[in-house]
């Protein structure tokens, strides 16, 4: 005789929370030329010229811009690389 199949009652609950995201912020500085900043963005952030110029203009107009958002390790690496180009970059936790 077949045993009755038991249907276990399974409850699931999502305990996964999203990892915090980090912003790489670049501040305006009066020393580095605009074209230099564009070139740095193109090389470090792998942006095209148009997007690099757009970010540079935001920084120039507003004093700062978030140039990248994502995981902490990558944000730290990009911020260090921007500082190696002598840009005034810093890390901020998103949200």
């Amino acid at each position: 005789m077949a045993k009755p199949k038991l249907k276990p009652e399974i409850k699931t609950e999502s305990l996964v929370s999203a990892a915090p995201r980090w912003n790489v912020v670049v501040l305006n500085d009066p020393i580095n030329y605009q074209a230099y900043v564009v070139l740095a963005f193109m090389n470090v952030l792998r942006l095209g010229a148009a997007e690099a110029k757009r970010l540079m203009r935001v920084i120039h107009a507003e004093g700062r811009a978030t140039v990248w958002t994502g995981g902490r390790e990558r944000a730290e690496m990009l911020s260090l690389e921007l500082q190696q180009w002598h840009l005034n970059s810093l890390l901020e936790q998103d949200g």
Binding site: P30, A35, Y36, L39, H86, N88, L91
Partner: protein, 154 residues
């Protein structure tokens, strides 16, 4: 990419080389002091300081070698490839930052952004001299970027 060339008068080369001897040792300190090193993680902070310090030493060496090797009249600095050109650009930026922090500390950012408007007569001789060199280093950067990536300009 073919080699890149920067040309300057022999007088400019001499003046800039002399200034570099004075400012290069301080440039490393300025670079590290300016950096926004993550304060929350000592291991990461140590790595950043180490990386930036090593880079500053390499930049000082690169500039010294490049200007010492700029022979002829006009003097020509030859950069063999794009990577060297990028390193040279960054090194010039470090020197300009060091001049800003060490020589023009009392000049406002707004004045410095319009450096050509600064009234030379109001500045002490040393600052005038340093300002001329600051502008020359900037011109070298602009010339190099124009060769490397003309689309970076508006």
């Amino acid at each position: 990419m073919a080699e890149l060339r920067l040309t300057m008068t022999t007088e400019a080369r001499t003046v800039l080389t002399d200034l570099l001897r004075l400012i290069a040792p301080a440039a490393a300190r300025v670079t590290v002091n300016r950096a926004h090193v993550p304060a929350t993680d000592p291991e990461i902070a140590g790595f950043w300081v180490e990386t930036l310090t090593a880079q500053a030493a390499e930049e000082a060496r690169l500039l010294a070698v490049a200007f010492a090797g700029a022979k002829g009249d006009p003097a020509v600095i030859v950069l063999p490839n794009e990577a060297q050109a990028h390193a040279f650009l960054r090194a010039l930026s470090a020197v300009r930052l060091a001049l800003r922090d060490l020589v023009f500390a009392d000049v406002t950012d707004a004045q410095l952004e319009n450096a050509e408007d600064l009234d030379d007569a109001t500045l002490p001789t040393e600052q005038r001299h340093a300002l001329a060199c600051y502008a020359c280093f900037g011109l070298l950067q602009q010339s190099l970027i124009a060769q490397l990536c003309p689309e970076a300009f508006d």
